[in-house]
Symmetry: C2
Subunit: 239 residues, 2 copies
């Protein structure tokens, strides 16, 4: 009953905040030609760093980006904000051909509080680059939570983070996860798995569910409901 | 029973095709600095044009982009391919701060067979720009199907396309849809609405469901199941 009331109050808050195209937060800057936009100032908000790299799968990062972006825009009082970080050059070509410009390179990234590693065919290149794996290890040094989507879990496995932890990945890569680290307790059925401070998700679209779960961990279940309502997301995820 | 067999066969086909990070189609080009990538050659495939503009909501276009991109990559024999088209400059700042580089400007766009108009707060600027509405009207002149996500329906309404049609939009904008054109039969409950050759969807995340429905219209229900399986999407959509 109390939960019911909380959900109703949250829905009202969401109505007053994000309104599907009316939301006034964000940017109106016109970007011209090939000029790179200026990196964002994240103020005193904690940062959720989304890692970008050539061959990253679009929805793997864009789903969580949307979840965290709507959360930050509609509920700035929670003080979390997504930032995009490229492992190499700021301009990234994604797996399905979309070109994205990251806000920061790895070298110029602000301190990260939560790291999200998406997947996509680019993982195959990164997994054999010790310097890229080292960058991921470095980025996670001070974070409170690490999340992966899809084959992003394979990069976390390579970096040695999932040792003896429960984890999952895209259905096509479950066996590879075991091959990379046989101590991982591979969950072949869950949409996402909370393995302590490492939350991994299954393939592509599951990143949205996992991101909402991360919002519930960091901001509470009622807030996750608010964000889902704003995005008109009709739950595959469960709190 | 026959349908059951078809779905199983499709799952096998998807396993052989898209494999969540193993997929070999696409691009490996490294893009450096502020240099704009070269526009894509779409060959003899029919084009699904996704419209981009400043203030477009990220998931509104990235969800359908992922669906159509995975379809094109895994089943090139179907000869449909997504292309991104910006109404103004190629570099676009999205509603939640993501920077994206469109493949084409409106002026240099290839012929479009299917047009998808996403939403996002940028619609409020566009709706008062006769030249932008005229561009949308021009882009739809030769298409076989027009789709919108979220508040993208408001732009279609302004362009006069939804007259006497069934349509929907984000929950927060349903009344605005009626205000823009009182002849629209507003569906307040459906995740997406097929109003003839105009398919509109509700808010943000519903674009994925709608895009899968479009795949089923253009490529058949079994193909839509293949793509959903590749993206590990566990159906909110119904064929």
């Amino acid at each position: 009953m109390l939960l019911g009331s909380t959900v109703i109050a949250s829905a009202v808050a969401a109505t007053a905040g994000f309104t599907g195209g009316y939301v006034s937060s964000g940017h109106d800057t016109n970007i011209t030609g090939g000029e790179l936009p200026a990196p964002e100032n994240v103020g005193d908000a904690k940062t959720i760093g989304l890692l970008l790299f050539d061959g990253v799968e679009e929805l793997d990062f864009a789903g969580p980006w949307e979840v965290f972006g709507a959360w930050a825009a509609d509920f700035p009082q929670d003080k979390y904000k997504p930032v995009s970080i490229s492992l190499a050059s700021r301009q990234v070509r994604c797996a399905q051909g979309l070109d994205v410009v990251a806000q920061h390179t790895y070298e110029a990234a602000p301190p990260i509080d939560v790291l999200l590693v998406p997947g996509g065919k680019g993982w195959r290149t990164l997994v054999d680059q010790p310097e890229s794996i080292a960058k991921i290890q470095k980025l996670t040094e001070r974070v409170e939570l690490v999340a992966s989507v899809c084959t992003g879990a394979l990069l976390l496995a390579k970096a040695g983070f999932l040792k003896n932890r429960r984890a999952t990945t895209h259905w096509s890569a479950l066996d590879t996860l075991t091959q990379l680290d046989s101590t991982i307790i591979v969950d072949r059925n869950s949409r996402y798995v909370d393995g302590g401070n490492y939350v991994t998700s299954s393939g592509v679209s599951a990143g949205v569910d996992m991101a909402l779960y991360v919002v519930s961990k960091l901001g509470g279940p009622s807030r996750a409901n608010d964000v889902a309502h704003a995005l008109q997301y009709t739950h595959q995820w469960q709190l």
